[in-house]
């Protein structure tokens, strides 16, 4: 288990035809912390996520996860190694029930996922855990509902439950609160806090009060480059950040 940093990037760079979305980013995420990635729209946050989770290949630079270089590995491999993401545009399995959604995530560790000869019953052992996770995100009364018909906010909650099911060592959440009402926000925020106890969270979030409340470290991106880094109190005072992102008099 290498060092205090679970995730490190070195000069991470992504260029889209003639346009640099991420430029020489050196990101360090400390183990067992909640780390926020904020910045104006189009700063490159999602792109960074996509690079970290291998949904995009970097133009240059390296990614170290637990000390080993994962720059060349496949998305699924990365996920299996314990770094799991959620999506900005919510991602559930629309025609499966809420419980099945979570179960899909739970079944992988069983290692029977290629066993086309085993009966479905072999998965029922997972239901207890699944339902517990569902309760944790407050979807108890939706257990058997079809995911696609949940309102937007509920979908996000479900998505987080699925992500948690993988017992990730490092969670990457892209705007987990987007499109949620106050009540949900509070619940999810608390949820994140509890789960973060024994793991690490890297999140993109525009809701500054949430960021202030949850995050230990904050990295501000602008035009693909790191503008500032530090605890909220410090960063939020940084004039450059105020000018570029927070603006005057809280949104």
């Amino acid at each position: 288990m290498a060092g205090e940093h679970i995730l490190e990037t070195q000069d991470l760079t992504k260029e889209f035809t003639g346009f640099v979305a991420v430029r020489k980013v050196n990101l360090r995420v400390r183990r067992h912390t909640i780390h926020a990635l904020i910045g104006p729209n189009g700063a490159g946050k999602t792109t960074v996520f996509n690079l970290l989770t291998k949904f995009l290949r970097p133009t240059a630079g390296q990614i170290l996860y637990n000390g080993n270089d994962i720059t060349q590995s496949k998305p699924a491999a990365v996920a299996r190694s314990g770094m799991v993401r959620s999506f900005q545009i919510s991602a559930v399995f629309p025609h499966l029930s809420v419980r099945e959604n979570v179960r899909i995530a739970l079944q992988r560790p069983l290692g029977t996922s290629f066993h086309f000869w085993k009966p479905e019953r072999s998965l029922e052992s997972l239901h207890a855990r699944a339902e517990q996770l569902i309760d944790d995100v407050g979807l108890t009364q939706f257990r058997t509902a079809i995911a696609g018909e949940l309102p937007y906010g509920r979908k996000r909650a479900l998505e987080i439950a699925t992500t948690l099911a993988l017992e990730p060592e490092l969670m990457l959440l892209d705007e987990p609160m987007a499109g949620m009402g106050g009540e949900d926000i509070t619940r999810i925020a608390e949820l994140i806090q509890t789960v973060a106890k024994n793991r690490t969270v890297l999140m993109v979030e525009h809701n500054l009060s949430v960021v202030a409340w949850l995050c230990d470290t904050i990295t501000v991106l602008q035009r693909g480059e790191i503008l500032a880094e530090g605890p909220y109190t410090e960063v939020s005072q940084n004039p450059a950040v105020i000018e570029a992102y927070i603006g005057t008099g809280h949104g």
Partner: protein, 315 residues
């Protein structure tokens, strides 16, 4: 199996046993072969959401291999069919490996393209006998014992093969593997982000499907004692799509019903001579316009539990 499925399955078995004493066995065997073929195809489209437009390649080439090995090398039928299955699966592995990374219509098209190349080979290769095909193939003795030239014996052999394959497919769909397939169909990037190498799962599904198609093709070539270009042509790939759709895409019994309907149609319409295609066309139009979820799909939609009905449409 849930109750409804159990009952239907039981009824199916009864029907299978009774049928040959009422209907013409060779015709029934044809239905069964195509039903099996359609089920194999449905495994892919219905449960992985992959539309293969090249399944004739597996069906047909398996037919050729079975016919050839039985006729020329004098293999026993079961060995011949086994080789057919392997051919289907092997070919499936190659074609699948090339195609699997493609999405939607492009997947359909690359499978079509590759199957057309197989077709070309079938036309050119000397051992397949051009458009004459491989003719008067001996049915031989099953396990060296049962003489399959007796059409009843042949029928019950085919029926057994069919039922076993059906159960196999059912199990695949309701296995842990099947669950992952469902997830992939619903939202692939999400499945990836949960740590599944979706391509591998799809490929395995593809190979299973093509192997089963091979089983159907091999069996058919014994039933008709003939392997011919018809079974490798793209029209055959089209036909199996039709059967599956008519019966009900993504329903476990749909393909069987679909195959039965289409084959019966072709069989009894044959006497209408030049009107066949018109009537056929009309039936497809009606199908699409009125009961789109296919016969079985509609029934499940009407009477079945909520959400049981397959989900027509989407991407």
């Amino acid at each position: 199996m849930d109750r409804a499925t159990r009952i239907t399955f039981a009824l199916m078995i009864v029907a299978l046993v009774a049928a040959p004493y009422i209907l013409y066995p060779v015709f029934l065997m044809k239905v069964l072969c195509f039903a099996l073929f359609a089920c194999a195809f449905n495994l892919l489209i219905g449960y992985v959401g992959l539309l293969s437009f090249g399944h004739a390649a597996f069906f047909g080439s398996a037919g050729y291999v079975t016919a050839y090995t039985v006729k020329m090398w004098g293999l026993t039928p079961e060995l011949g069919i086994l080789l057919g299955v392997l051919t289907g699966a092997g070919l499936g592995l190659i074609i699948g490996w090339l195609a699997i990374r493609r999405q939607g219509i492009y997947f359909a098209m690359i499978t079509l393209a590759l199957s057309q190349i197989v077709f070309f080979y079938a036309v050119q290769a000397p051992w397949t006998g051009g458009e004459d095909g491989i003719q008067s193939v001996p049915r031989g003795r099953l396990f060296g014992l049962i003489d399959l030239h007796d059409s009843m014996a042949m029928y019950f052999t085919v029926a057994t093969i069919f039922v076993l394959a059906f159960l196999f497919i059912y199990r695949v769909i309701h296995s842990p593997f099947g669950q992952v397939l469902k997830a992939i169909r619903e939202n692939e990037p999400r499945a990836i982000s949960l740590g599944y190498e979706t391509d591998r799962y799809k490929l395995l599904a593809f190979v299973l499907s093509s192997g089963l198609a091979g089983l159907a093709g091999g069996t058919k070539s014994l039933v008709f004692q003939l392997a011919s270009l018809t079974d490798v042509q793209w029209q055959m790939s089209g036909e199996v799509v039709l059967m599956t759709l008519v019966g009900g895409l993504g329903t476990i019994f749909g393909p069987i019903v679909g195959a039965a309907v289409i084959v019966t149609m072709q069989n009894y319409l044959a006497e209408f001579g030049s009107w066949v295609t018109i009537i056929q066309g009309a039936i497809f139009v009606v199908c699409v316009l009125t009961f789109r979820r296919g016969i079985v799909g509609e029934i499940m939609g009407r009477f079945g539990p909520k959400g049981a009905a397959p989900t027509g449409g989407g991407h």
